[in-house]
Subunit: 105 residues, 2 copies
DNA sequence: TTCCTTTTTGGCAAAACAGCCAATTGATGT
DNA sequence: ACATCAATTGGCTGTTTTGCCAAAAAGGAA
């Protein structure tokens, strides 16, 4: 594995890691429907606003979402909708796994 | 967020987490080309065989890979090739981000 | 059986992550 | 200026993850 390969996989991992959390996957789902303020997202998940803000900052740093200030508040939106096709694939995998579990009974 | 929603996102996160590591993303790439033994993968990445085995076991538990015993050794292969289309999407995102960084100079 | 090869498991210490509170920053209005 | 609302940041603790070594399984060959 070359050095630039290592960099490549580290870069990919940074993005995948930024999705690897239930709350952040939920945000992706909501933001795919349209932009939302930090507080609106907070209300949906019910945890501390600082926690929400930190989740969003991780996603922003990875380039998954973009933020936009409107007056007092900050709206986040999904940067690349193609990201959601990946979620569809994950769902396929979940269904596959479920079928397998059933056949193992 | 309903209870079954929470479960849904936890389930998704489990799979995404199993990909969220440079070494594991590299393995996905290699296994997409064809099955490989644990030791062959170890030689590619250069870390301890126990580390490799644990990475693979995480991926297997998540349903990303399947294993197959052949005599002495164990071969792993990618379960759902569709997973790799997600990597393509990540690459798009990386390129997008790179372009943005350039325009910020 | 004994030896050798391949892989998995247990255990441990270092590093990274999650989520809360408190304090701060930023924008708006009085 | 002051108060208020929205969001971010710092700091802290508890949890999870990583990656190594050593030990144990699991096969195959002598």
């Amino acid at each position: 594995m070359t050095n630039s390969d290592k960099k490549k996989y580290r870069l990919r991992a940074e993005i995948v890691k930024a999705m690897a959390h239930p709350t952040r996957l939920f945000f992706m789902n909501e933001l795919a429907k349209g932009k939302q303020s930090v507080n609106a997202l907070r209300e949906m998940v019910g945890c501390d606003i600082s926690t929400v803000s930190k989740h969003l900052s991780v996603m922003k740093k990875a380039g998954i979402v973009v933020d936009e200030k409107v007056g007092n508040q900050v709206f986040y939106s999904l940067k690349l909708p193609c990201i959601m096709s990946f979620v569809a694939c994950i769902e396929t995998l979940i269904k596959e796994n479920a079928v397998e579990n059933i056949s193992c009974l």
